[in-house]
Symmetry: C2
Subunit: 450 residues, 2 copies
């Protein structure tokens, strides 16, 4: 007996599942404490709601009745009150967004669906929105199924897709988010290859996207829905839109497009996922999904097998924060804070970066996306990466945000910078160091391998 769990004993999925591609980046940051990390997507530590959480925890634990409720098992789908509040919040966001879309452009096509589409019984509370993405993928996808992903996209979802053995197809994005023409072209190609029935989902990070900071315009979303509807008619079933709205509430100013629920056929095809972790406290991992009924049932059964319910205590804390207004007050603090940090970073980039860098300041979320000239390389083997590391600054090479898709090349001249947990000094100093490294590499002309 070999004594270890060789491949012979693992499942196909176990054998297939790879190391997270940016695990080494995280380890690098941890192993060099002097490093300025503009790579991590951590939230701002200074504004974490310590006092608020303490007060809420006390309030819950001081009363025997609420203490017992919070410290006992809950139910698989989540705390009913939290499901109700969540359903109401999504409805309210969409109601306002539809009104704004119609006011800006009458006949926008945005229609608030019947209230049933936002029923609390469609809400599943999960361990961060990550678990919701996992459960939805598990409910929908077999190995070899096709997932359509934005180019670039949230890299942790790429880990899910890889583990499930999905074939990924990248869909180009632009300043207005996902490009409907690119989606249509991708689906046409898939159809010509006779594989339309393998298309299970389109994954969209539609608000202040990780990694680009861009939001999908309503116009783009509406046309995406039209494209999908065209192919759904051929298939006789929905193509799921997994709409990841993790950053929706983290715009620097109010506003934002309606969700994909507000497009024709939206409630039948949209799995809407969101989170209370990033806007409140990432140490409390509470995410949620709003799912079409048939899919809710399946995802709920899977959730029951995964863990029969997210920790009740956290859910009670979040429900109380939402009910009492503490959550919304904190959200305001966070928005102002992130807007200020984004301004610091924008100013630092404008002041230091060479003119060859293309970028634009985000209007929400916590990321900047930088694109360098054609011949520049920024991957882990590149001169720039090494120069940056030598001056103790870290970024996420953009290539890690692209799915494996042999039908197109992965660009290696983009990078993600995050100001999430960086201090003002780190933002300014890190940006300046990175700019100096880039100037050095640009001056030499040879950009090295990726």
């Amino acid at each position: 007996m070999g004594g270890t769990f060789q491949n012979a004993v693992l499942s196909a999925k176990g054998r297939r599942t790879e190391e997270p591609p940016i695990g080494w980046l995280m380890n690098l940051a941890l192993s060099r404490p002097g490093l300025i990390s503009l790579a991590a997507g951590f939230t701002d530590s200074a504004t974490l709601p310590a006092a608020e959480t303490r007060t809420i925890a006390e309030r819950i634990l001081n009363r025997p009745r609420s203490a017992r409720a919070a410290l006992q098992y809950g139910s698989t789908f989540g705390l009913d009150e939290l499901r109700e509040i969540t359903a109401r919040r999504i409805y309210e966001l969409d109601r306002q967004a539809v009104a704004a879309a119609e006011e800006a452009s009458p006949g926008s096509g945005a229609v608030l669906p019947a209230k049933e589409a936002y029923a609390p019984k469609r809400v599943l509370i999960t361990n961060g929105s990550q678990q919701l993405l996992y459960l939805a993928t598990e409910a929908l996808c077999d190995p070899g199924d096709i997932a359509l992903l934005e180019d670039p996209t949230y890299f942790v979802f790429l880990g899910i897709a890889q583990s499930f053995g999905l074939r990924c197809r990248g869909v180009a994005t632009g300043p207005q988010g996902v490009e409907p023409e690119a989606l249509e072209a991708a689906l046409d190609r898939i159809e010509r290859a006779g594989e339309l029935d393998r298309v299970k989902l389109l994954y969209l990070v539609s608000y202040y996207q990780n990694p680009t900071g861009r939001s999908a315009s309503w116009e783009a979303k509406r046309r995406v829905a039209e494209v999908l509807a065209r192919f759904e008619r051929k298939l006789g079933r929905p193509i799921c839109v997994l709409e990841d709205a993790a950053y929706r509430e983290m715009g620097f100013a109010p506003g934002g497009a309606p969700s994909m629920l507000c497009a024709p056929g939206g409630p039948e095809r949209t799995v809407y996922s969101g989170t209370y972790s990033k806007p409140f406290a990432t140490g409390l991992r509470i995410g949620f999904g709003l799912l079409p009924p048939g899919l809710f049932e399946t995802a709920g059964r899977l959730k029951n097998n995964h863990d029969f319910g997210t920790a009740n205590f956290q859910q009670h804390i979040l429900a109380e924060a939402l009910r009492s207004g503490v959550y919304d007050a904190h959200l305001e603090v966070l928005r102002r804070r992130y807007a200020r940090k984004a301004r610091w970073m924008a100013r630092a980039i404008a002041a230091n970066f060479p003119p060859e860098a293309e970028w634009s300041p985000p209007s929400g979320g916590m990321y900047f996306w930088i694109r360098w000239p054609r011949r520049m390389r920024v991957g882990p083997g590149s001169r720039l990466f090494r120069e940056a590391l030598a001056s103790d600054v870290l970024y996420v090479p953009g290539r890690f945000c692209y799915a494996k898709d042999e039908t197109r090349k992965i660009p290696d001249r983009e990078m993600r910078l995050s100001f999430g947990n960086a201090t003002r000094r780190e933002i300014e100093e890190g940006t300046a160091r990175l700019a100096a490294a880039a100037r050095k590499v640009l001056a030499r002309g040879g950009y090295g391998k990726s």
Copy 2:
């Protein structure tokens, strides 16, 4: 377009995964508040550590440094301090158990493995031990693989097995837990059928088992390891023992057998799972696993895709409870409390149940297992179940604790009673009502269908 997520769009797993078989039982309990539920495995609400958790939460959130650490993202595998404490606790439990086994019977064969087997880097912190069971199964099993399960076993694991499309084989248990002869016979049969290579795991709830309350003796465990080793030599790889030690710390008196890690080959084949939820607070869902290195790596990658780490705040609370001694002090309270509740239930059963009922009082955990005469039926369609329901008392029909296995019949004359969250009055009244219902059914002689 049909508008709903029919089977056509779901994954094979999504289509396969069934409603949890006792979901209706839970709903029944919720829908009839007057009902005395001796069915639910909830823990004792009155002893939930509200004051302790409040103090700890305050301590963590009052200091900016620890507050930020607890409310920020953690790492995928868990809080390092909690992993260290957990590794040490398991080691210490086994060290004491091996010493006791050797003292009781020199040459017992129990050997404490090298400390490396209990290394913190093998500990994965999960959302309750349920998630650990899920991750281990996901890492190991493909549809059609064979899992060996105790007859009877923990029914939520049956949901996992069903969802993964495993073929289950039941292994008889007795007062000493799993019966090594039955295991050997099952493996012999599987080998003769040419399917030995499909055997991936043996799932054992080895301490105060849910549902029977029985513990596996060291002698049984040692012989189980010998049987497995015999077949492992033929396979050239380990057969994983998924040892669910959820109730290990919940014995009414100290003691208990060494874990499967202490048998020859133990550290190579054993996934040891445990939990801090049941002994402390089920509203804080913190479980853990100690895994062989190759399997740890795979389960860790899967965990990263599931949720990239259990909520940090809960982990900090548990780590502080463990570090400060609050956890152990609470455990003592709980043990005394459960011992007392078990005595109440034992007295009520002894005083009220007809002599036809076979049972014995547990020495830990929170369950009684009752076996009725051969012709009695206790399933949801039985007279007894209906009579019990008519007198507002609920139990878990034992049949739900047996895996589907066509090679043997599932008995329908056993039931699980839990005193976990029942009050003294509920224990006494519920037991009396159930006894009256049983006497009525026994007197009539016809026991109805299952």
